[in-house]
Amino acid sequence: MMAPFHFRPRVPLAWRILTYDKRRTGLALIGIFMAILLVFVELGFFYAVPRGGLLLYDNMRFDLLLASNEYEYQAQPGAFPLGQLGPVRSSPDVEEATPIYFGFAKWKSGEGGMWPDVFVIGFDPESHVFIPDSINRQTGVLGRADTVLVDTATRPMFGPLDTGRVVEIGDRKVTIGGQYVLGTGFMGLGVVVASAANFSRLYPQRGLDIVNLAAIQLKPGVDPDHAAEDLRKAVGPDLQVFTRKALEAHETAYWTTRTSVGIIFGSGLLISFVVGIMIVYQIVSTQVSRQLPQFATLKAIGYPDRSLAGTVSTMSLLIVIAGFVPALGAATGLYSVIRQETLLPVAMSEMRLLAVFAAAVAMALISALLSIGSLRRAAPADVF
């Protein structure tokens, strides 16, 4: 029987029932507030993980990204010979193609004699391929021999990150030339950026002929999708060309389907949704059973089931909406705490806001539907 769910708002009555017992309604609000907050948090984590995986790309300037066909995700990018950039650079669509080098090395100057692994990014500082101002302001520093910039999010186990400190990376003494702000994402516990020349000094056997990625800037007005199509033909099957949109989809799919992230936060999301339903249901059905004689009276004087169902649904919706607003505020605050605590880029987005609001409305309607069952039993003759 879904018929009673033919929704007609009954705001005045629902409002009066809710405000009649302020204490109880207050509690209900706290409960629904927590449930919605939890939905926000789980959803935040769910999206933060792929966002963390995209952190580097979000901070890079490119229209297309060139990678080996063995590219899996940012931390396992594969590699290709520098020579394969030739046809890309000669394409009429391409303004610039900047090779990017990735490497891991032992940071032999950690706290307590530890040698944590550091992620090293090599690039041409003049290319300005990275967006953060803190990198671009220090291109001069990057030009110095055996000098690197270190990410401010590098963990304390790497020891002090002071400018001028000489550390040993791999088998080489390197000076920390300064810091930059980007974040370590899932690149590692510590990240440094270096000029290509300094990168090759850190990895003398590798040199600069093996590249991990190339950031492609297109000429103004060139459509990335078309350019990608043409470049794919030009570079052959050994390389892949990603548009930004394709890259984001690829990385997100990696994190949500290849790792346990999707299922962990997905199941958390589902359970918090059910918990939200249980709370609203608890509140509304208690109200219904407490007001059962009144509801029965309404029925007796001729109000149809449908109208009473409308009142119950309106009660659920009012509670949920009243809980949603503070939950949104608290979630925004909590996101910033999570950002600091976990270094995950959790942020509020319009999409998420709407999604959670839709989930909250769904919670309200489902719990109303559950409560209406007992309402239908409100036979005037039984109650009195």
Partner: protein, 388 residues
């Protein structure tokens, strides 16, 4: 027995209150149960995170483990000279000192089904000197004596194709024969694992990384009757300061501390657990408060009949504890099912442990009793004269 009936405690009032309204009981058990389920899932995930990170260390068949003093976490290659392991063998009380070769960054596995290439975790050991306590690895270790043969993790992530019936695959571009399998499962760093002989390990790693004179972990067994702590002391004296000497429980603790310090898993799952607790408290407050309001005349009557407040309090708390259990038991049962399903899907070591059982029970009782304590003030102040 008759005397017993006269005693107020013998009437299971809390129990009768609880079961007098079945649909209300169902509702409260549902509400509290889902809050508990939320806590159980979060606690389970947290445990699974640490368990998966510690699984390999637990699977090592040794009392004492040697590694480079610079090695900050298990899942990183930081080898030490084999000569130091030889030295350890001569220390009094050492029954055996065996080498484990391990790598997390340099072994690329080609999925035998779709030909895609993935980074995997690789372990190597001398098949004549086993280092793992995994029965399936030890049963098949002799097959590893043939060059370029491997055992694969049947519980690896599925996209690696290690759970297939394939008998051949490629590692670092070399054809390898799959001669058996074991069930370890991925952790949050590696998707799958390949185990091979020390020789195959060295030959597949190109360059200096494949140097068989550099060992990643020394697995030491103590002679029967010797105290591991004493042998540990002797080993520390005999070995240079570049070697860290851990007992197995110490290395597990070292790794656990590392994971706790760098990963977000602790705070993420703690936050979920706290939210579950608060939500559960609110629901159970709602349940107790409603029940007390409904039963207020009855409580007042009992008071008027001369029952002490202490007795009434006990009834309320007993009832809260029953409510807690009525939510906890189904939640626990449901979580067993979810652990199983999610554990299979996500390849996580999600399983109910005494720790999770007790912590969740404690939290559930805590949230119900705290909320009962807040709600019970009504009963204490219930004035028989006012209620009627």
């Amino acid at each position: 027995m008759l005397a017993g009936i006269a005693r107020p405690g013998s009437v299971p009032l809390a129990w009768r209150n609880l079961v007098s309204n079945k649909s209300r009981l169902l509702r409260s058990a549902g509400g509290i149960g889902f809050a508990v389920l939320l806590m159980l899932m979060q606690l389970g995930f947290e445990q699974a995170f640490f368990e998966s990170a510690l699984a390999v260390i637990r699977g090592l068949d040794g009392d004492i483990l040697l590694q480079s003093a610079h090695k900050y976490q298990f899942a990183t290659r930081d080898p030490f000279p084999r000569a130091d392991l030889e030295k350890a063998r001569d220390v009094a009380g050492v029954a055996s000192a065996r080498a484990l070769y391990a790598d997390w960054f340099d072994f690329f596995w080609k999925n035998p089904i779709d030909g895609k290439i993935f980074l995997v975790r690789a372990f190597g050991f001398d098949p004549a000197a086993p280092v793992f306590s995994y029965a399936d690895v030890n049963a098949e270790r002799d097959k590893l004596k043939e060059p370029n043969t491997v055992l694969v993790d049947r519980r690896a992530r599925r996209f690696l194709g290690m759970d297939s019936a394939a008998t051949e695959a490629e590692l670092n571009g070399t054809k390898v024969k799959i001669v058996g399998g074991f069930a370890l499962g991925p952790d949050f760093q590696s998707d799958g694992t390949v185990i091979m002989s020390d020789r195959t390990f060295a030959s597949l790693l190109h360059g200096p990384a494949g140097d068989p004179a550099a060992v990643d972990l020394g697995v030491i067994k103590v002679r029967d009757g010797n105290d591991p702590a004493a042998v540990q002391q002797s080993l520390r004296k005999a070995l240079p300061g570049t070697i860290a000497v851990f007992t197995k429980p110490e290395l597990i603790e070292f790794e656990r501390n590392f994971q706790a310090a760098v990963s977000s898993a602790g705070p993420i799952f703690a936050m979920g657990t706290i939210v579950g607790f608060v939500v559960g408290m609110l629901i159970s407050y709602q349940v107790t408060y409603t029940d007390l309001s409904d039963q207020l005349p009855q409580y007042a009557t009992l008071k008027a009949m001369g029952y002490r407040t202490g007795y009434l309090l006990r009834v309320v708390f007993e009832q809260a504890a029953f409510n807690a259990l009525a939510g906890w038991v189904p939640a626990l049962l449901l979580s067993l099912l979810l652990y199983y399903v999610i554990g299979r899907l996500a390849l996580l070591p999600l399983h109910m442990s005494a720790h999770v059982t007790l912590v969740s029970l404690g939290l559930t009782l805590g949230m119900c009793l705290i909320s009962a304590a807040i709600a019970v003030r009504r009963v204490i102040t219930a004035d028989p004269a006012e209620v009627f």
